[in-house]
Subunit: 246 residues, 2 copies
DNA sequence: TTTGTCCAATTGTCCTGACAAAAAATCTGT
DNA sequence: ACAGATTTTTTGTCAGGACAATTGGACAAA
């Protein structure tokens, strides 16, 4: 049942060929021209048709298998699994998420200080002794209603932060602009009930459910750049993800 | 700074060479002989020393980069990021998790029925009209104290379930034994507060915080095998994961 | 009808080789 | 001593080929 699948390859483009292929296939899946369950052309045929080598095709498919869009089976072929995969829970900020979702995020800075790292934070960030941290709390709202209360610590030897920029921009945005390339993050999601202070800030009742999230983010040089503890109104936010068996 | 790194390769083993390499490196990282931040031998040298080709080495390293153990940088080399990565939030059951953690999970079956699928479930599982489902709720305890309340729906055309086997075994265990190969799952994590029934079952106070999780699992043939809604005592459970930037 | 065997299709693994691109280290001219 | 250019090191991308392993179907035998 091999579907034709027309993909344009631009050999003069700086973006790698395998990635062009992956994008092409992903696009076809997302816009519905490759329905869930469809079997793809086999690798060799596709390679010949696009005038690419089989390893290149395989690399493209590998990536899509990783992200859960395709399933391969030896002796059988490659199938589209689902067209409704939410992209793997990414290393993104709440700000990014909201903007993508078309909401209008706004932030108010509740506190800001530049202090020597408390021992707990020093350990979490594996800080050298002479490095201090920025410590601040922010309230993030979407379309006017409060959504999250965020407390963060950021080491001060990477970027200079001040009240003004934090009001206007997302933290991850600022860090990326400063040349930080995030590589991975350790994250823990749980639940709690709102205490009086949290309830007031989030405009909800004391005792209402909150989603908690702690995260420590690492950049490409291995430094722990940032750690934070966030709470979200449970009625307004939840974490979605797609798990892929490897 | 290339560390020697001794890895044994067994060419007669059925396990792929690249995987042997990956296991070797991962082992060295986890047992501390490759400390965080260490730079590895470069690919070509390692390939020559192990008498393997560079693509094989690269494939091994790719996998480790994916799981967040290594970071590569063109012109620089490959570094160990962290030795304390929790393996990527896996497609595992609570039962598996607890057994790995050395707890003694026990399950009590609170209800069990074999019914035509409600339309909502029928949609979630993309069921054909003639397929019914098993619907059951279980209470999972660890080391004696109640931990999670789990409600599940399983299509009935894959495996035959009954009360006895669900008492004795984990759901995923049963499904895997029936030949189901899970490939991916869509998951949503949030929070809520305990109502009277939940509180009683979980031996906690009404209004206390609970972590909620909904999951739909897909097997390698693209079938949605199972969907469920679980709640966990927030003081006893949270979700940990490592996010990797790709 | 059932069981077993073989064959074709397809992905999985592994190899060799080549050049490109980025980063770091080194050299050179001032 | 410094700035800029050059070289070296290292990973990234791509090609082509070979054989192995698994699956599913067709066919033959019981």
């Amino acid at each position: 049942m091999s579907t034709p699948l027309s993909i344009k390859i631009d050999r003069s483009s700086p973006i790698p060929l395998y990635h062009q292929v992956a994008q092409g296939i992903e696009g076809a899946i997302r816009d519905g021209s490759l329905a869930s369950g469809t079997r793809l052309e086999n690798e060799i045929e596709l390679a010949q048709r696009l005038r690419l080598s089989r390893p290149t095709i395989r690399k493209a498919m590998d990536d899509l298998v990783q992200s859960g869009l395709l399933v391969r089976k030896r002796g059988v072929g490659t199938q589209v699994v689902s067209s409704q995969i939410r992209r793997h829970l990414e290393l993104s900020s709440l700000n990014d998420d909201l903007e993508r979702a078309g909401k209008k995020p706004s932030t108010s800075l509740l506190s800001f200080e530049h202090i020597p790292a408390p021992t707990e934070i020093q350990e979490l960030l594996s800080l050298p002794k002479d490095v201090s941290v920025y410590h601040f709390t922010r309230l993030r709202s979407a379309s006017g209603s409060p959504l999250a209360l965020m407390e963060n610590w950021v080491r001060d030897d990477i970027v200079e932060l001040d009240e003004k920029s934090l009001q206007a921009h997302g933290l991850y945005e600022l860090l990326r602009e400063a040349g930080v390339n995030f590589r991975l993050a350790q994250q823990r999601i749980g639940a709690t009930t709102a205490d009086d202070i949290q309830a007031k800030a989030l405009d909800t009742a004391a005792g209402s459910a909150l989603v908690t999230m702690q995260r420590t983010a690492v950049d490409d040089t291995g430094r722990n750049v940032e750690t934070g503890a966030h709470v979200y109104r449970a009625d307004a936010y939840s974490f979605e993800m797609t798990l892929v068996q490897r």
